[in-house]
């Protein structure tokens, strides 16, 4: 029955679609759907006003933009901002740093929330689970200033670790000022701050897996690992792919505050990422056109990465972020 019903529906839909050309039908649909359209209208206006319309402002990337002269009063300079950007070694250094941090975090940060969710999911005591969840969520609500200060207090040159070492007659270490291990430091900070929060979505996905599947598998003799491998992970896979794609879209956005706060500790060579570069070279000195060019570059690269990753997801049979059919 279900099969027959569902096979009929597209036809009915197509029939309505073919009648769409007729004005009467259009009016009919408007009369029928107006409450829905009215509900959606504010969102469309909101998106239009605050998302799509401002996108037009990207035109200043091609201008010697002066906010006091406005878009109309500023000269168009073609790709000069981009040429300047691509000729700056500092830009390439920032781009490389950004990509390195993204790649590193994709491998060492991204799986952590999944692992945490699996671990927590296996805890049977509800009270313990709630407690652990609360504890690991909490750092997400701290600002980066607080997080970096906390790390500074713990492992900085005047921090707890260094003081303890000193008072015991050892050479103090300052783990906050080492450019070589900066990538490890920022990943550790990200994990401490956000892994618990990132876990929520995986816990939600885990809760949708039918418990009957586990019972059936257990009855068939599957041990915990087998159940994890054949039921839990496949259940999580669409969410993992979705988040991975979204993360790729933000590949050039690794963060701002976290890096700007620690930039002087390890130097621009290690801590300059695209966002801080834009801030220093574009916004701070009021060169908005140049900043917009760098921002546009980031956006375009992010879009291309999302499209590619989504296509790849389709190729391997996943739904991805969206599907054309």
């Amino acid at each position: 029955m279900t099969t027959v019903g569902s096979s009929l529906r597209p036809k009915a839909s197509r029939a309505r679609g073919s009648a769409k050309a007729g004005g009467a039908s259009w009016r009919h649909r408007l009369r029928r759907d107006w409450p829905l359209l009215a509900m959606v209208a504010p969102v469309i206006v909101l998106l239009g006003v605050f998302h799509y319309f401002p996108t037009l402002g990207n035109v200043i990337a091609f201008q010697d933009y002066s906010p006091y002269a406005g878009i109309r009063g500023s000269d168009f300079i073609g790709f000069a901002n981009f040429e300047r950007m691509f000729s700056e070694p500092a830009f390439w250094s920032a781009l490389l740093n950004t990509l390195a941090i993204t790649a590193f975090q994709l491998v060492f940060y991204f799986p952590v929330p999944i692992f945490l969710a699996l671990l927590l999911n296996s805890v049977l005591s509800v009270r313990l689970r709630t407690l652990v969840q609360g504890v690991v969520y909490l750092p997400h609500f701290f600002s980066w200033v607080l997080v970096v200060s906390l790390f500074q207090q713990m492992i900085g040159g005047a921090g707890l670790l260094a003081q303890t070492l000193r008072s015991n007659g050892y050479q103090a270490v300052d783990l906050m000022t080492k450019p070589d291990s900066f990538i490890l430091l920022v990943t550790a900070q990200s994990i401490w701050k956000d892994a618990g929060w990132g876990m929520i979505v995986f816990l939600a996905a885990l809760s949708t897996i039918n418990p009957a599947l586990y019972e059936a598998a257990a009855a068939d003799g599957a041990n915990r690992w087998r159940r994890l491998w054949h039921i839990t992970l496949p259940g999580l896979r669409p969410v993992i792919v979705l988040l991975l794609i979204l993360r790729l879209g933000d590949a050039l956005t690794v963060g701002f505050e976290q890096f700007i706060l620690q930039r002087s500790a390890v130097g621009g060579g290690a801590a300059e990422v695209l966002d801080t570069y834009v801030y220093y070279q574009g916004l701070l000195v009021g060169d908005f056109g140049y900043g917009a060019a760098a921002g546009l570059f980031k956006g375009v690269v992010g879009l291309v990465l999302v499209l590619l990753a989504n296509r790849f997801a389709h190729l391997v049979g996943e739904q991805g972020v969206y599907s054309r059919s």
Binding site: T177, L261, A265
Partner: protein, 555 residues
């Protein structure tokens, strides 16, 4: 700013930076802009000479107020060793006749006070002004970051305080001044300023620095112009038997003597600019024997100074938190005795005394007399005659502009007037009490409500007044008079220069490299590479620009 301690631009106090910040950036002499005529982009830099501005500057009419006990010599600030028993009323009428709210934005380097409606200190001042002044108070540390977007948005308040050191980091400020702010020339030029007697009491040289695009655009905050002093904790020095240094070697020896990591004490915070000065590095440009302009970063003295600072860092004499973050707020570390020597603006001194006098009676902060690295004759860096400016929003109408200038006239009231006492300390008996010496002492309510808000809305002739701290006025006056005597000659004396934006953009990358050198991430030899890059990426163009400014002025 350059400096291991962040150079501390972002946490200097209101009196600390008068006219200072600009002159010591890596970009060079970065005075705020001034142009002749058009309001075009300032991307290429601008300059105008002070003595050509005669026609539009206000006439100086001295206000007959309290006379200082200690004169300011050589351009140093005078000192007042006691508070007058009776205060003069300087503004008899309420300046804002319409009673319409005045909006204002000012920086603050202190916790935010309660807002309008729940702050009796605001109420008392607004009563005298005749209208509520609604302050948008921003952290002084981030003020420059907020200012750029605010100006770009065009949404400025009636009165906007703009520190000069923030202007130097902005491009196209000349355009902003033209588009957003009122030309005050018709209200204040020549004799017209007599309508605002306390503004007329500001030095003419300070007014010259309030000119943009050949228009009087801002009310200046006069300054004696010392960017920095090197401060030390005399109480800790006495405790360990140390004496203030007279050479760079003695300073280095102090690093060893004072640093005791196990006791959580390090010798230094940020001292870079003061080290450069001690090594004889010019604050901006100087001419070599052939008459060619040489920037501070190109001088051999600069290289020596950088090598010295690196040595200080590498020996572990700098507080680790400062090593870890050049923008560390050093004040608590200094006041808590975790670091003993640091550079800061002069305003930091009374500010620290105010915080510590009730907490730690032993706290004794003193400035080190300027010294040369080799024990010879030192130089001091001079700044502009005005370092902070207040702009009035454009297009508010003649009557309203006059009212707003009346507010600025109120906030320019000098020491010894009721108005000055009211905006500095609040209401007697409520926000402060009089000590036996006559000096005010803030009450608990005063500590909570009184903030340097009105103070930032207008300058007043420089004066050292806080006689409630024993010995402070005398010591500050003596230090200032001595420092003024040693001030290095300024090639651009009296010329307003807005540096080309390309040069302004060099400051950050160059400073990054310096920070790397101090912390051992790059060898000192890389300084030559950094200077070369600085020259080719805009420094040489800047040199040509500045050379033309000089030749245009017959220098």
């Amino acid at each position: 700013m350059i400096g291991p301690g962040g150079g501390s631009t972002n946490r200097r106090t209101f009196l600390s930076l008068l006219g200072a910040g600009a002159a010591v950036t890596a970009g060079g002499v970065t005075l705020s802009g001034c142009s002749s005529g058009d309001s075009g982009s300032s991307v290429n830099g601008r300059a105008e000479t002070e003595d050509k501005l005669g026609g539009l500057l206000p006439k100086y009419i001295a206000y007959d107020g309290v006379k200082p006990d200690l004169p300011g010599e050589n351009g140093g600030a005078p000192g007042f060793t006691k508070y007058p028993a009776t205060l003069q009323r300087a503004v008899p009428d309420k300046p804002v006749k319409s009673g319409k709210e005045v909006t204002a934005m000012t920086p603050l380097w202190a916790p935010l006070p309660p807002g309008l409606g729940s702050n009796t200190y605001f109420d008392a001042n607004n009563e005298r002004i005749g209208a509520p002044v609604r302050f948008n108070i921003l952290s002084g540390n981030d003020y420059g970051d907020k200012l750029g977007p605010l100006l770009a948005s065009g949404n400025v308040p009636d009165l906007l305080c703009v520190p000069g050191w923030n202007i130097s980091g902005l491009t196209r400020f000349g355009q902003a001044a033209d588009k957003l702010f009122e030309d005050l020339t018709p209200y204040l030029a020549g004799d017209k300023v007599a309508a605002y007697p306390l503004l007329a009491n500001l030095p003419t040289r300070a007014w010259a620095y309030g000119v943009w695009n050949s228009q009087l655009k801002a009310v200046p905050f006069p300054s004696t112009g010392f960017p920095w002093a090197l401060f030390y904790r005399k109480d800790i020095f006495d405790q360990v038997g140390a004496a203030p240094p007279k050479t760079a070697d003695e300073l280095l020896a102090l690093g060893k003597q004072l640093t005791d990591a196990r006791a959580n004490r390090w010798a230094f915070g940020g001292i870079t600019d003061e080290i450069q000065r001690a090594f004889g590095v010019p604050s901006g440009w100087r001419k070599d024997s052939s008459g060619k302009l040489v920037h501070k970063v190109e001088t051999p003295e600069f290289e020596e100074a950088i090598a010295f600072v690196r040595k200080v860092f590498q020996n572990g004499y700098v507080h680790p938190t400062v090593v870890g973050n050049k923008a560390t707020d050093e004040k608590p570390l200094f006041e808590g005795g975790q670091l003993v020597i640091r550079q800061d603006g002069l305003g930091a001194w009374p500010e620290s005394l105010q915080r510590q006098s009730s907490i730690n009676p032993k706290f004794d902060m003193q400035p080190i007399a300027p010294f040369a690295h080799d024990g010879g004759t030192p130089i001091t860096w001079g700044g502009d005659p005005a370092g902070i400016f207040t702009f009035v929003k454009k297009g508010l109408g003649k009557d309203r502009i006059a009212e707003l200038l009346g507010v600025l006239n109120y906030t320019a009231a000098p020491f010894g007037t009721e108005e000055n006492q009211l905006y500095s300390y609040g209401v007697e008996g409520k926000h402060y009490t009089r000590q036996s010496s006559g000096a005010p002492k803030l009450t608990a309510l005063g500590q909570k409500e009184v903030a340097t808000t009105y103070t930032f809305l207008g300058g007043r002739p420089e004066a050292i007044t806080q006689s409630e701290y024993p010995g402070y006025v005398e010591a500050m006056n003596a230090w200032g008079n001595n420092a003024a005597k040693l001030r290095e000659p300024n090639l651009f004396e009296g010329i307003r220069v807005e540096q080309p934006s390309k040069m302004a953009a060099l400051a950050q990358p160059f400073d990054d490299k310096l920070q790397d050198i101090y912390r051992g991430r790059r060898p000192v030899s890389e300084l030559k590479v950094a200077v070369k890059e600085w020259q080719t990426n805009g420094g040489n163009e800047g040199r040509d620009f500045y050379a033309k400014v000089l030749s245009d002025n017959g220098r």
